[in-house]
């Protein structure tokens, strides 16, 4: 059976075709990062308009590349939430329209469900149950995943998401959007021990995150040490290494908390497998530290190939495959913006 996946929850318009749960026939991602870069973030209204322009060509390309026709699609899977309402609506309305005209059942898929099983799009596949960390621009959550469609939320951020912290820190030190790749790249040249930024552990044993404080610490450090205002007084080399040290130290602090909390959840639940997903899991240092410390604690760590860490429709098609029983031809479904607590 063929599943068409459609994803438009944030700044990516994406479509993919899967044959059952094993063969990915096409995977088209049209990112809006260039448009948003000059604004220093995702501008929602721009995002919806761009989705509108892109959705038809992206879905069309996915079907063509898969070498099938629209009539051969058995189920349409579309991201229902969480995300930007205006952006989500473009994807959902498009899916409904195809469904209505072609009489193809469609199913609304939770964006998190997609991230949680995106690891199965790679070659190395984990066994259930596992503990999964989803870290991205909008989320930092730990889940207990017991099957492709059954999962429960263990911990989440109480203020900022990890990716949001990367974006905001990038803004504070004058790097562009998105912040993650820029900070990740500069960190390689910096010393992660240079600045001891605080780690927010919250109450002992809490699986929740807080990344608002570290952003504040970086802002204070930059101000106190006149990192930006004394820029011209320094040698360009010194300025560069100062920024690199801040990046590396900040990244280390965020990675440290993400890894420790995730591994602690696995140990507490006596689960031997840990899975990493979401845009922040493309961060090389996070992948490295999760793998090293996971192995030290006797856990097996899995992560999706880089292309499936960031938002994509292949993971939505895959999640849709497992939820195909819920696909229908009724059209009262709506989108939602926030992660649900169950």
């Amino acid at each position: 059976m063929y599943i068409l996946g459609i994803e438009s929850s944030c700044d990516e318009t994406a479509a993919a075709v899967m044959e059952n749960d094993s063969r990915l026939l096409s995977n088209i991602v049209n990112t809006q990062i260039d448009i948003h870069r000059k604004y220093g973030g995702v501008v929602p209204e721009l995002a919806s308009r761009k989705h509108l322009e892109d959705i038809y060509p992206v879905v069309d390309a996915a079907i063509q590349e898969a070498g099938i026709t629209l009539d051969q699609i058995d189920t349409i899977a579309v991201t229902q939430g969480p995300g930007l309402i205006g952006s989500l609506l473009v994807g959902l309305s498009f899916a409904k329209a195809i469904s209505l005209v072609k009489k193809i059942p469609y199913v609304g898929v939770d964006h998190m469900a997609g991230h949680l099983i995106s690891v199965f799009l790679g070659h190395k596949k984990p066994e259930f149950p596992y503990i999964a960390l989803v870290a991205s621009g909008g989320h930092s959550s730990i889940f207990h995943v017991s099957s492709p469609s059954a999962y429960s939320l263990l911990g989440r951020t109480r203020d900022d998401a990890a990716g949001e912290a990367f974006d905001k820190v990038a803004k504070i030190i004058g790097l562009g959007y998105p912040g993650g790749p820029a900070i990740g790249a500069l960190s390689k040249k910096g010393n992660p021990e240079a600045v001891k930024f605080p780690r927010s552990w919250l109450e002992p044993g809490s699986p929740d995150f807080s990344f608002s404080g570290i952003k504040t610490s970086v802002a204070n450090y930059v101000k106190q040490n006149k990192v930006l205002s004394d820029q011209e007084a320094r040698q360009p080399v010194d300025q560069e290494s100062l920024i690199a040290d801040i990046c590396a130290s900040f990244q280390e602090a965020v990675v440290d908390v993400l890894v420790e909390k995730t591994l602690t959840c696995a140990l507490q639940k006596n689960i031997k497998t840990v899975v990493l997903s979401g845009g922040v899991s493309a961060n090389i240092r996070l992948r490295q530290v999760m793998e090293e410390r996971g192995h030290q604690k006797g856990l097996e760590v899995f992560m999706p190939p880089l292309e499936f860490c960031t938002d994509n429709a292949a993971m939505i098609a895959l999640a849709g495959y497992y939820q195909r029983d819920k696909a229908s031809l009724t059209y009262d479904m709506d989108v939602y913006s926030r992660i649900s607590a169950q």
């Binding site: 973030g41 501008v43 989440r156 204070n220």
Partner: protein
């Protein structure tokens, strides 16, 4: 000229910020608007969390940054609408998103980065401008504009 009052407060500890927020949330009435200004890291999220506490938002509803999704809604004694306009380009976008409908509704609206509102800036509002003094202390300049000013001036020391 709309009536306005100003108060400058020193928030020496985190507890001072929490107390202020709880007071503000406890005094808020439906249709009230608080606008919050201050740099990244000045404590806008922390203050909003305390305002939520004053509004009796249930503990299990974490008040998280709305930067990504722009608007978060929480149940409480009266609803809390928490907006972050950081990523908005203009006031037109604010209208297109339908956010104006929340502002004069049945809850308290807290707006971060209100400068994006332009001509839509409400006449009656409590404006809180947070400044970082050092790692733990902040100072806040509270300005009451319009009808709301009198109701909040009574418990704000120094006014």
């Amino acid at each position: 000229m709309p009536h306005s009052t100003k108060t400058q407060l020193q928030l020496t500890t985190l507890e001072d910020t929490l107390n202020l927020g709880i007071h503000l949330g406890g005094t808020a009435l439906p249709g009230d608007i608080f606008t919050l200004a201050g740099d990244l890291g000045a404590g806008k999220t922390t203050l909003t969390q305390a305002i939520g506490q004053g509004l009796e938002v249930p503990k299990e509803c974490y008040i998280t940054s709305p930067t990504f999704s722009l608007l978060h809604e929480y149940p409480g004694r009266i609803p809390l609408y928490h907006m972050d306009l950081y990523r908005l380009g203009s006031e037109d976008e604010f209208i297109e998103l339908g956010f104006e409908e929340y502002m004069y509704g049945d809850g308290l609206t807290v707006i971060e980065w209100p400068d994006r509102l332009g001509s839509l800036m409400p006449l009656s509002r409590l404006h809180l401008e947070l400044t970082t003094v050092n790692e733990t202390s902040r100072s806040v300049l509270i300005t009451g504009f319009g009808d709301i000013a009198e109701r909040f001036s009574s418990f704000l020391p120094g006014s």
